[in-house]
Symmetry: C2
Subunit: 359 residues, 2 copies
């Protein structure tokens, strides 16, 4: 397929596209031992795909954790460290993370801190992980109900993105990853926006092209600014408010996907963009229409606003006590570090909850 | 004092020597908030010294943990993360580690992983931390009775080494740090060996010179090889076996200091050097005499040998399943990555336990 490519940047190897998995063998040599982190889903649906396509793979042990965002916690991380220890992993062992964002985030964190850092490879198996979580060195676990409160920047040796793993994926996982794809279109890739063409994700038949394009957008940004000093902050569009939604529902034990939360956050932050960075109201309406075509609104009311504001104050992106947003200047162009008054954030929540018009 | 100096390398600032603490204020600007990690000893003896010498220091919160190597664990790390969270620490907050190696190791680990990394400063208050633990980016906690099993390489913004903090120090802490000083002399600094002059640590009256020289030796090594790809491995002299001793006694709940363990490890590895790297037996006898002048032998018997060997196999420095030692070529010169057969390691333990002669 045309979208297949591999690249080397800062020693992270990316292999993306159809049949990418067949190239995994290249990155598995010279290790003392190899361990695979899985959950019950990837054990069932993905492990056989990996082992069939990489017949020489010698696995010294499997580490299985339950799936789900609520499992991305310190207890599970300790379990992974413990398994690595008892299975005699060394500094020159390799951990393969086979799964979605929970697996790649938590596995990366555990690899990055086990014996002060062992190598790991991400093989993302969900749309969200393929276009986002598995790329870019951010690892972590949730702590005290705060997303990724504990973690580190730690590069995988390789990231292998192969759509073959998505075949068995449940609809909600497609939807969840789709929010980040919309985000890439909005912040940096007008061409991608045209490809999406106001479609609902279930109508899309050219996933391979869309996934490759999105993954490359993320790689491009991370290449220039891994440590998030500047342009990488643009990726936070929709996330300052979106992650607060996600934390809120996590605390309330109501399951929503990351994509649902970010989609909602993007609506709020698109509206803020019209107030702060001159995004035109016609664009606001167009963007919100595309999001609403793909995502139901979250069940929120005005009563939830104070709690959401309080969660946002815990955000890692807050500096000097001020809210700094990544916002849209226009469709396909984001800017970062825009200071936004809390009142405007509250108004954006009200805009979202009450389905107001842009003006 | 002549030994006072400050240097900049890879953005870590070192201020070492008499009155160094007065320069701490320089590194405390532009932070959203400042937190200090202490234990009950540094709260009692060191906090007032810090606050008296840095009158402008504004502290937003204290995090107090119990002292002791056995406290350098995941539960305490979680406690520190929790305190940072509840005291509203941000990405642009600063953590000051005021204490010995437990505080600087664990505080560095918590800072390096909180919100994917916040700044920290080490103000070591024990001899061991001043000449070793606080310098060189290695952070970590113990896990499953294995020393520093979980951690990361993460640079402090500054390390401030001031002998003023040592005044209140108990004798055993002087002794503990002294083992590392002997090590620097043996692996790289024959001039320092002459300064030590076969003295017992209690007879030493020129500490400031000796501390500055030792700290600079460590800084020099870390400057060239922070990630321990080559020359930094020389610092492991005495540690491959010494850390196994330390783990053994930790498991048995018998308190020994890090220095006692390393001193014992150095005797074993000095003997191995005579077999593997041509260290002369006259040097072996001289080195062991100096160590025995300063450290009682550990209570070990031949029966302990299998357990020690088993602990060593968990060591982070083991690669490809082989023991690789840093050994002495001669007094003042070490070499690393020397493969040593397990049998020779066992013989060195027997050499130590039975106080055999070099030949």
């Amino acid at each position: 397929m045309n979208s297949n490519f591999s690249s080397d940047q800062n020693s992270v190897q990316y292999v993306i596209g159809d049949q990418a998995i067949k190239q995994a063998a290249r990155y598995l040599n010279h290790y003392h031992s190899i361990f695979i982190l899985i959950d019950e889903n990837t054990e069932k649906y993905c492990l056989n795909i990996l082992e069939k396509n990489v017949p020489d793979l010698k696995v010294n042990g499997y580490i299985k954790v339950p799936s789900g965002e609520s499992e991305k916690n310190l207890e599970r991380a300790a379990f992974i460290w413990k398994k690595l220890t008892t299975m005699d992993a060394k500094r020159d062992s390799l951990l393969i993370n086979l799964g979605g964002g929970v697996i790649t985030d938590m596995g990366g964190f555990c690899a990055g801190t086990f014996k002060r850092g062992i190598d790991f490879i991400n093989i993302p198996t969900t749309l969200l992980a393929q276009v986002d979580a598995a790329i870019g060195a951010k690892t972590g676990i949730n702590f005290m109900n705060i997303k990724n409160q504990i973690g580190l920047f730690y590069d995988p040796k390789a990231v292998i993105v192969d759509p073959v793993f998505l075949r068995t994926l449940d609809q909600k996982y497609w939807q969840s990853g789709f929010a980040e794809i919309i985000k890439y279109a909005l912040i940096m890739d007008r061409e991608l926006w045209k490809m999406l063409n106001m479609r609902n994700y279930s109508e899309i038949d050219d996933w391979d092209k869309i996934i490759s394009r999105s993954a490359k957008d993320k790689i491009d940004i991370v290449r220039y600014d891994k440590m998030e000093k500047g342009i990488r902050k643009n990726l936070n569009f929709g996330h300052t408010i979106g992650l607060a939604f996600e934390s809120l529902f996590l605390k309330r034990n109501i399951k929503i996907t990351h994509g649902q939360a970010i989609a909602a956050g993007m609506i709020c932050e698109t509206w803020i963009s019209s107030k702060m960075t001159e995004l035109e109201c016609t664009n606001v309406e167009e963007i919100i229409k595309m999001i609403d075509v793909n995502f139901d609104r979250l069940e929120l009311s005005e009563k939830d606003v104070p709690e959401i504001m309080s969660i946002m104050k815990q955000d890692k992106k807050i500096r000097d006590g001020l809210f700094r947003f990544s916002l849209l200047r226009r469709l396909g162009k984001a800017v970062h570090d825009i200071v936004v008054e809390p009142e405007l954030v509250e108004q954006s929540l009200s805009f979202y909850i009450n389905r107001k018009n842009c003006n």
